[in-house]
Subunit: 528 residues, 2 copies
């Protein structure tokens, strides 16, 4: 194991040099560059960065920076169980939910890989029992719907993954075992809407809260139980329609009030929990444990590929370092994620949490204010939809926003029609290809209103078809990219102290002792 040291980005030897190297024009795109600037990644994915403002000299410098900041060494250390979440004094173990890549990690004589694998096996058994109707609802009817109650990482990731695989499962001629719904917001219209729409007798609820104290989630649990009781269905016992996903030490785990409970722990942050029981329970119930296992295998393959030290053959490392270059040298404050796949409709919302909650920090690991920008604003919608929406600004607005395209050769369902000489899938891919070139190369026009400046950078992550394995690899790519960027910026990507103040002030309002400004706003919004 290499000696690891931590320093700010601006204190590295390479950073000054990096700022002095001239960036090439993105518009100088050509076939040679497109074919050369392409890195194979896990599960048949490829990362193409031809349309970014980097040259061989810049790649050398970015590779040197990755080396100087010891990105791969720090990743190894994280895998080996080093306390990387310094603020909270915790290890960072979400990779272990997919498989073992580092040394065994043990907590109180418990091997953590065994712990996660054991929870996964328990969930698989439970899901099979539901699917084979050995476990049914309290009135004896089989479950056909699962509703996840959770917020933040207990909602965005699992929901995005569910949507990402629903059509794949339908396309392989296996109907999803259970339909999944999600309740997240404390707005009573969210739970009210879902509850009005499901059959209480055939619905299984998953209550997800690591701490067992999440305000929104406990409130929604109470809401759901109350509404089920109001239906007054003979023999219906809401409690036996509910499982918990929580930490072993939480009040939920100890309550004994749930049909069953599956466990996570403090070493997995909410936004990194899709591959733990948080995502595993709903995905295994919806699609079967085998599909979830494939998803984990893809993520594990992605995690392994990200260990490669050479930036030119490590897609994640290249993606991360180009992002740092665009943020800290070129000064672009935001980036768009644009998947040309309807299945990934909520994937950008998940990445928005993953990235902005991880790297939206102003202090380094030692608690000192950093003198450079850290995590960017991340947003996005699927293509081709976005083309008819915000792409106008991306093409002709006054600011440059780097773009992250994602695309696949095949659709998930495999159903298609030919219209006007081409299939829908061909049109989808043709649009994707056209956008990359349009953004990079632009178009001169005498009419300034029809002129396209070009020089708008983009990357492309592409593969054959969005299968569970490919989705796992895709998720792993972004998780590890965010991790690498956090290492470059010398920040802790694994805590979220920025969410605490709002919670504290909310309690003051609800507790009846708000400060004068809280009270003034509260009066406007009808609070007593």
């Amino acid at each position: 194991m290499a000696d690891i040291s931590y320093r700010n980005l601006d204190k590295t030897d390479v950073f000054g040099h990096l700022q002095r190297v001239t960036a090439p024009a993105v518009a100088d795109l050509d076939v040679g560059r497109i074919e050369a600037f392409d890195i194979p990644a896990a599960e048949g994915l490829h990362f193409n960065y031809a349309a970014t403002p980097v040259s061989e000299e810049l790649i050398d410098a970015l590779g040197a920076l990755a080396g100087e900041q010891q990105l791969i060494d720090k990743y190894h250390a994280l895998l080996d169980g080093e306390v990387m979440n310094t603020g909270e004094g915790r290890m960072v173990l979400h990779h272990l939910t997919r498989g073992q890549l580092g040394n065994p990690v043990t907590v109180e004589d418990q091997d953590k890989r065994e712990f996660y694998a054991h929870q996964q096996a328990r969930i698989a058994d439970f899901a099979r029992a539901v699917h084979t109707e050995r476990i049914t609802g309290s009135t004896g009817k089989p479950f056909d719907t699962v509703v996840q109650i959770g917020i933040g990482g207990s909602d965005l990731g699992p929901r995005a993954m569910y949507l990402a695989l629903r059509n794949y499962v339908a396309g392989t001629n296996e109907k999803p075992n259970l339909a999944a719904r999600f309740i997240s917001n404390v707005d009573p219209d969210d739970a009210g809407d879902v509850i009005a729409d499901v059959d209480p007798e055939t619905t299984l609820f998953i209550l997800v809260s690591k701490s067992g104290t999440t305000q929104e989630t406990l409130t929604n649990e109470a809401f759901v139980i109350e509404k089920m009781r109001e239906r007054d269905i003979r023999g219906l016992n809401p409690r036996s329609h509910m499982v918990a996903v929580t930490s072993e030490t939480s009040p939920l785990a100890r309550s004994g009030e749930y049909l069953d409970a599956f466990f996570i722990d403090d070493y997995i942050g909410g936004r990194y929990s899709s591959t733990s029981a948080v995502g595993g329970c709903v995905l295994s119930l919806a699609f079967g444990p085998d599909v979830f296992e494939e998803f984990l295998a893809g993520a594990h393959a992605g995690d392994r590929a990200a260990l490669e030290p050479d930036i030119r053959t490590n897609a994640v490392l290249m993606d991360a370092m180009i992002g740092v270059y665009e943020r800290n040298v070129l000064g672009y404050p935001s980036t768009a994620v644009l998947p040309y796949s309807q299945a990934l409709s909520r994937f950008p919302a998940h990445l928005q949490q993953l990235d902005m909650e991880s790297n939206g920090k102003s202090v380094n690991r030692a608690g000192e204010r950093v003198p450079y920008p850290t995590g960017p604003l991340v947003f996005g919608e699927p293509g081709t939809n976005g083309q008819h929406s915000f792409y106008q600004l991306l093409h002709q607005g006054t600011d440059v926003i780097p773009l992250q395209f994602v695309g696949f050769r095949q659709s998930q369902r495999g159903e298609d029609v030919e219209f006007d000489g081409s299939t829908s899938q061909t049109k989808l891919v043709a649009n994707l290809v056209a956008q990359i070139v349009a953004f990079a190369m632009g178009k001169r026009d005498e009419n300034p209103n029809k002129h396209f400046e070009g020089n708008r950078p983009s990357t492309l992550l592409y593969g054959e078809r969005l299968s569970p394995r490919v989705l796992g690899a895709l998720l792993s790519h972004y998780e590890n990219k965010v991790m690498f960027q956090g290492f470059v910026w010398n920040i802790n990507s694994f805590d979220q102290e920025g969410v605490q103040l709002g919670k504290k002030l909310t309690k003051e309002v609800l507790g009846g002792n708000p400060g004068p400004e809280l009270a003034a706003y509260g009066r406007m919004l009808g609070l007593k």
Copy 2:
């Protein structure tokens, strides 16, 4: 009518002064300011801007800038039928879909207000005929589902409005008449997913394309018809399950192949079309024509309120000018829309199109490059969900992002439970109030990781309950805000030339004559 002249923002007399006035600290929020910096708007809405970095002196300067750029005069001119979409040489008439505020506007002896009202009446008749089962599916079954096929403005606005009203209608004990679904993406998995889920015999499709040539929409029409035929249901005629919303001169209008057709025209841009037949057809079918009429009445009231010349009593004008100040003087490149209402879950996606497609421009009305930033990046998700996601960066990231909160005193469904001493709705509002104060005032902490800088600006648009009228007023607020900002920047907010290059290159790919770069990317993505 005042003489109107057009000049760039940096050429105004006031702009230099505006840059020299000192902005107050947002953290200096107090009760007096909260109560004073509050403007009543249409339909009981209020706009509160206490937590923005403006002083009385700055408001004077922003009001003077609005006067110098003749924002209200230009709005009057637009209402009177002036050619405000200069690039395409068209009038801008979406306000007329809600009612008459300016002089009558006539095109080829046709009064345009009469035209829009007539289409609305025709849609109302059609919807009533469907609801009373005078019009049924081709096998004689009543329609219970409507599927809108459209993209961009034919999708985002209508979809956002549908979601915004669904629970309101449910909460007034009137079940929606028809359930609505949407197909937009050319990805075959989008249409395939919806079609697999609906009953062809009881489903009515609305094909929406102003030009009648939108690639995605025509492709999805072909997909839907093919898949309905494949079901091989005796007596099913897909064509008599489909109405068109299009311009009278489009190929669709002339085809005679639809059950019926309702018309729009070139004076209404897609992103401004929710109050035209584009939104009217699906919303009238889903909720009844009366609900749609209420929605229009609210928008009309909003349009009227925006005519008020004094910035201190015009909520839209104040919102627009604060946005300009934050963009052009303080230099913030993005803004977040954060509705504390699950019903508005896709409202930010609609505003993203509305704003970024309207004002994401680099040239002024005369086609000259402007030397200042124009439209910002707009993104957002509903609260409280966002709090558990990207708010970390908003609170503690290195960049400041101005926030636009929206909230209501009451939920839509009116169903609620008390848990831990308060209802869900009270918790929702308490969280909203807490966030405004947390962002503005921050919190000192010895631990820099737990320190909140504060000084993060926000505005609040709030009202009693999200009814159809309030939704109309809310939509009008943002439409007119975007219009006012376009006037300040001296750009044309009503064309979208930036979407053309992508379309052209897509055609080259699909036509088999792509340039070398298109071909190289195409090979990677499996195109022949």
